[in-house]
Structures are given as C-alpha cells and as structure tokens.
Symmetry: C2
Subunit: 252 residues, 2 copies
C-alpha cells in the first residue's frame, strides 16, 4: 500500500439512497484531492437524519486527516447538515453575521425570510467556505469541510478550499490493457505485486463487444517505480502472447 494523506467523503441525502439522483461528486472530489496528494479512502452515503449524520461525521473525522461532506445545507426542513455537524462537535449553532452578509449579496433584504436565514446558521468556531455561484456559504470546522450537494456549487466550494489542504505525494497511475483474461495472468501479476510493494497493482476485467481483456492499473507516488512495474507487467503479458496497449500516466 501507498501511504499518504487520507480523506473521507460523506454524501448526505435521501435522494441518493432512493436512487432518484445519481451522485456526481465522488469522482470529482477523488480526482481533485489526488492532485494535491490526498487520497480518498472511504465514502459513506447517509440519509437526511441527524443521528446518522452525527455518527458518520464523528467516525470519519477521528479516522481521516480530512472529511468532506456534500448536501443538506439549503433553506428547507430536510437540510439538517449544519445543525448535525455542530452536534457532532458539541458546539453551538448560531446565526453567523458573516454568512448573513453573504446571503444579502444574492437575496434582497425583503426576501431574506427565516427559512433563507437558516443558511446563515453556522457552528461556532467554523470558517466560511466561499460560494461564488449563489453565495450561501459552506463551512470548515476542524478537519470537516461542509459543502453543497449541487455539483456546480460543490465544485466551486471545493476549488476554493483546495489550496488550503496539505497533501503528500501525488498518486500517479499508468495502465496496461491486455487482451487476455485476468485469470490467465493472475499468478504472474500477484508475483509482481509481491516483489513491488512500492506500487499498487489493480486488475479490472472488461468485455468490449465480445473481446475479453484486462486493464492492469499500476498506482503509486514514485514515477520510476511505476514505469518499472508497468514494463514487467507488459513483458509478462507479451510472454503469454497477448496483444497489449500501454496508457500514458495519469494523476489518479
């Protein structure tokens, strides 16, 4: 395994668990974190229920360097993320004047009703996260970053906080596509993995229009080590007489 800075994502929302909405944030956050040398190590999806959110926030924030949450910070009754995170940390939730000021950039004073003002209820001690799209802020409390669920807003919030994250080495990867079943090369692959603990070798079978094959993904933080392992995998596959394709290195 490759050691680096670990993060978790907590997706909050009944609409994901019911199948109504396909999550679009996991992959964006995973790729974005990796570019600053942080590795997404666990994801949880929970319902809009205070107990479930508190339990997940506390389990994840004590385990990982960073926790990101998405969803549940709007103005309606089912938006309970801020109050749940406050309870998880044992701090008060209070009307934050900085957040009210931001809401007033988007919302006329006569329209800033009590429901919309709920979006300015922020746990004590939290820093606000900018929202250049619709101004209602997210917040950071300790190592927990609370963001919107709408992908376009989540993305600007995430890009805003990313420069403040302290990561380790960036995870790189290179793929070898082998037109042969993974069972045929599994033993040789396990042997390469065993000799090369400095990289992580994943094997993903595919069937493209009836043609079976395997994508071998070599991941790690050391580019030369990846190149060496890829060369070994390619040589092994050629030894089996398999057609191979090598992909360029990607940061993931």
């Amino acid at each position: 395994m490759v050691d680096d800075v670990g993060a978790a994502l907590l997706i909050i929302g009944n609409e994901i668990l019911s199948g109504r909405t396909q999550d679009a944030n996991l992959r964006y956050i995973a790729l974005g974190l990796n570019e600053v040398g942080i590795r997404l190590q666990e994801v949880r999806v929970v319902a809009d229920e205070e107990g479930a959110i508190i339990a997940a926030v506390n389990a994840l924030r004590s385990t990982y360097a960073y926790v990101f949450t998405t969803g549940g910070i709007g103005p309606t009754h089912d938006d309970i993320t801020a109050q749940s995170v406050a309870k998880a940390f044992g701090v008060a939730l209070r009307r934050d004047p900085r957040a009210v000021e931001r809401l007033l950039r988007q919302i006329r004073p006569e329209n800033l009703n009590e429901a919309r003002l709920r979006m300015a209820n922020i746990p004590e001690g939290a820093d606000l996260i900018d929202n250049p799209v619709s101004h209602a802020p997210g917040f950071r409390l300790g190592n927990v970053f609370v963001m919107a669920g709408i992908p376009r807003i989540m993305q600007v919030m995430f890009e805003g906080v990313r420069p403040s994250l302290i990561g380790g080495a960036r995870l790189l990867s290179k793929s070898v596509t082998i037109f042969i079943g993974e069972g045929t090369i599994a033993a040789a692959l396990a042997e390469i993995q065993q000799r090369r603990p400095d990289v992580e070798i994943g094997s993903y079978p595919f069937n493209r229009d009836g043609i079976f094959g395997t994508v071998i993904v070599v991941r790690g933080t050391d580019a030369p080590a990846i190149e060496e392992a890829v060369a070994e995998v390619a040589g092994m596959a050629e030894g089996h007489g398999a057609k191979i394709e090598i992909e360029v290195a990607l940061p993931r």
Copy 2:
C-alpha cells in the same frame, strides 16, 4: 420518517475511490430493493483492504436487515472480498466443490488454474448466488449478499436473489415541480411536513437554463397520504402564484 426493512450497500474497490471508475451499482440496487419494499439506508465505499472490509461488513450487518457488497470476487490478488467476509463472520474459507463445478461450465479444465480456482473459495456455510453471465458465483452468508462489481454481472446476481428477500411496503413517490426558489416556500413546506409525518417531503432546487425552481418529492408507502400531501404542496405553490408541474407516482 417511513419505517420499513432497511439495507446497506458496501462498494469494495480502489478504482471507485481513485475516481477511475464511476459507480453504476448504487442506483440500480436502490431502485431494485425498493420494488420489494426494502429501503437502502446507508452506503459505504472502502478500498481493497482486509481490515476496512471486515470493519464495514460487521458494522453494517449488525445494523441493517440486509447487506449487499459489490466488487472484489475475481481471480486476482486484489480480489479479497471472500476471505474478508469469512473473517468478518469468523468462519473458514474453503474450496467449494459446487463453485468449482460452476467454474467448469465456463472454463476448460486445462485453463482452471489456481488463480481462477480462487473464485471457488467460499466461506463455510454460505449459499452460492447464481451468475448466468460468467458462472463464477457470488454467495450469501447470513444477511450479507456478496456480488460482483461489473454491473452486468452484479445485475443478474441481484435479480437472482431478489425473490428471496423479504421486504415491507413499497416506497412510492410523487414530485411537484415548482418554478420558484425553495427559500420562498420553505416555511410552508416545513409546516406541511410537520402535519404529515406519514410522508417524507424532500426539496431539491434546480436551475434549468437560467430558470430557477424546486422539485418537491413526497415519498411514502401510503398512496392516498402521498396524494393528499401533493395536493397541499401544489395548493401552497399556487398560493404563491408559482407555475407548477405534477409528476406521476413512481416507485422510489
């Protein structure tokens, strides 16, 4: 909240956490479970690491009526789901002759090497789950159903076991699309939710080509209760002079 039979999904795979692969199983399983009156209440995504898999399996199987896992049951070194589930239950992993027989339907005896035979290593006491696509089986141990990660295979495994699941009432939903911001109607919506604890009212804002609006989803197991709540939501929105659209009831 609506009480019914609860389930969790455990997605196992570095390729999901790295952002390489977009999960395609959560939504399928969520919708499929709901059709038999089972509600997906939590999802976790963990890496191909024994400790992480064991901890998640044990946490979820003690909390929910059913647990489904996807991924990690192939022939390569990174496929460690079966051994991890066996350890989670404290039972032995053994070469299962029924599973070997199934592998031989797909694989010629001379190609059934030790790596491919790993796919016949099944925890003691488990029932096999059919795989009409490529024959390598999944398995059920207690309330945990272990399935492949490849969507096409996961789907046939899931459809195979679904008739054996014992669910409660099916969750139904009906949507009201309101062309007005959710902050404007939030207080009235909260009031409707408070008076109608037999349904669950979700509010999802949207911006379609610059037109802002809110989709109100009313979920529940009692169709007349949903209709009544939808009528109230629609009446409330009309009171605000908003254009509305009502969607037909959907099983989710």
